[in-house]
């Protein structure tokens, strides 16, 4: 550690540049991870807020709630207890003459069931009438106010916003919670349809009857449009960034080590043990990565504070911890590469040069 700190202090520019690069890579990793988590969260926010364990859908709907319709016949034998709720989903465009249009998902829910009961209000109240809706706080960010009246999919009928709720997004779209009656009106031409899905928060809940089929929530989430592709893309980018940072650290430390071989030979000739030199190299790498990552964390935190709420970014403690530990491990692995050269230094080379 002594040699590592002294050298970094003395060679500020050289090590400053390495720290700058590690900072940029870690900043990018934090940024992409936050975006990945943020987007994934907006895909599944509502599903998670309901504590969903199982989802019952029409078996021909390709595990998509939007495509699913459950009829009276399908639901005939369904056991809807306190942990189950019927949901009707329909994609809608919400319009207001003075506000921007919002592509949303209308969710029809029943007042007697847990989804309605557990809505997390930010302001206002829960919708109780068929012409009332409770909307995600994203509407608030876009300028909507309680009392605003929405047109849904160009309907003549208007729906009054009576409350804003949090954690109400699905497929990255804000949710408009309303009654099942309203949902049925929006879903015209299918009079026999009772719901899109049964959401159950009981692990192992199973209902397979008629066209109804039960799917575990994991499978349901994986099948959300774009969810898996989006996550895999981010994972690939983050993975590559880790590999790039590994290469940067390894190459820089290798070059620096090669430049210091004569110094190492001299120190070895003077009896400085190899383990001291190896320890200095590893601790140097840890210091460089730690400083770069800390800077990355600070700048990322400032970025997250400054970005508008519309950017789906979620800079969570788990991202901080996993990203930082990942970078530190990468740094340690990178520093192991030049160690072989250090161990092979011939102290006799220090003589006569």
């Amino acid at each position: 550690m002594f040699l590592a700190i002294k050298e970094i202090k003395r060679e500020k520019l050289r090590y400053g540049l390495i720290i700058l690069m590690i900072f940029l890579v870690s900043y990018l990793i934090f940024m992409l991870s936050s975006l990945a988590v943020g987007l994934a969260s907006e895909n599944t926010q509502a599903i998670k807020s309901w504590n969903t364990q199982e989802v019952v859908l029409n078996k021909n709907a390709n595990v998509s709630m939007n495509q699913s319709t459950l009829t009276k016949t399908d639901l005939k034998k369904a056991d809807i207890g306190s942990n189950e709720a019927l949901v009707g989903e329909n994609a809608v465009v919400a319009k207001h003459k003075k506000r921007p249009s919002v592509s949303s998902q209308f969710l029809g829910v029943k007042k007697s069931q847990f989804i309605y009961k557990n809505l997390e209000l930010v302001s206002g109240k829960k919708a109780t009438k068929n012409n009332e809706v409770t909307v995600d706080q994203d509407f608030k960010v876009k300028g909507y106010k309680i009392g605003d009246k929405l047109e849904l999919n160009g309907s003549k009928k208007k729906y009054k916003i009576v409350g804003f709720v949090k954690n109400a997004k699905i497929n990255i779209a804000p949710i408009i919670y309303g009654s099942m009656t309203t949902w049925k009106k929006l879903r015209q031409g299918m009079p026999d349809v009772q719901a899109s899905a049964i959401i159950s928060r009981t692990n192992g809940y199973k209902y397979n009857h008629g066209n109804a089929k039960t799917y575990p929530v994991k499978q349901f989430i994986q099948k959300l449009p774009g969810h898996t592709a989006q996550n895999m893309t981010f994972e690939l980018m983050i993975g590559f960034l880790f590999v790039i940072s590994l290469i940067i650290i390894a190459v820089f430390l290798y070059i620096l080590t090669m430049q210091k071989m004569h110094n190492f030979a001299v120190m070895r000739a003077q009896g400085i043990p190899s383990k001291t030199l190896v320890g200095a190299t590893i601790s140097q790498s840890i210091i460089l990565v730690a400083v770069g990552v800390i800077l990355g964390l600070i700048v990322m935190w400032i970025t997250a504070m400054l970005l508008p709420a519309a950017v789906p970014m979620s800079f969570t403690p788990s991202i901080m911890i996993i990203g930082s530990v990942g970078m530190l491990l990468t740094g340690i692995i990178g520093s192991l590469i030049p160690i072989r050269s250090i161990l092979k230094v011939d102290p006799a080379k220090a003589i006569g040069e």
Partner: protein, 224 residues
Amino acid sequence: MAVIELKDVTKVFGTGSAQVKALKDVNFQANKGEVVLIMGPSGAGKSTFLTIAGSLQKPSSGLVSINGKDITKLSAKQSNNLRLNKVGFVLQAYNLVPFLNVQEQFQLVDKVKKQGNLSKEELTDLLKQLGITDLVKKYPNELSGGQQQRVAIARALYANPEILLADEPTASLDSKNVEEVGKLFKDLAKSHEKAVMLVTHDPRLEQYADHIYNMMDGKMAKKK
């Protein structure tokens, strides 16, 4: 008893037609309080002699002993320990660690050798004797060649070794500085009870030597 002794030491590099005998049946010894010069032209085998005497490499045959103990069979770790405790090197280009100031050069020794180094008072005296007391906060690139050499000598002596090995210590010095360095080594040998071995081809140092060995084509002969 001699502090360091080499008996019939031979060092061969390469094999077959590429074989080179760098040292041929070398016999040598040095005692505490003595300055011993090993002289000879380039390629005579002086550096090879120094690396074997300093336990940096092993001879092909023969015996090397320090305080009567054979050092040719030591492991790499034991050799390292020996260099740290018994042998101080002053190298040709002084070779101070470039990112450590003078004070930190000594601290580095403290980090790896916790006991037996010079005390604060002894170091202060040594720095005074070498005339570098005011340079403790300076980095190697802020020192002149002569100052760097003095610091290198101080660092070599800081671990309190019994043997001081110097490789061409006057290579880049003018006559006035050579005289100073010669006197300094003589003083150090006497006042600090060290066996000082100077590998050089500089005849200006001869007047400060207690013994002189000449090397030519790997063979060593005692001149004085």
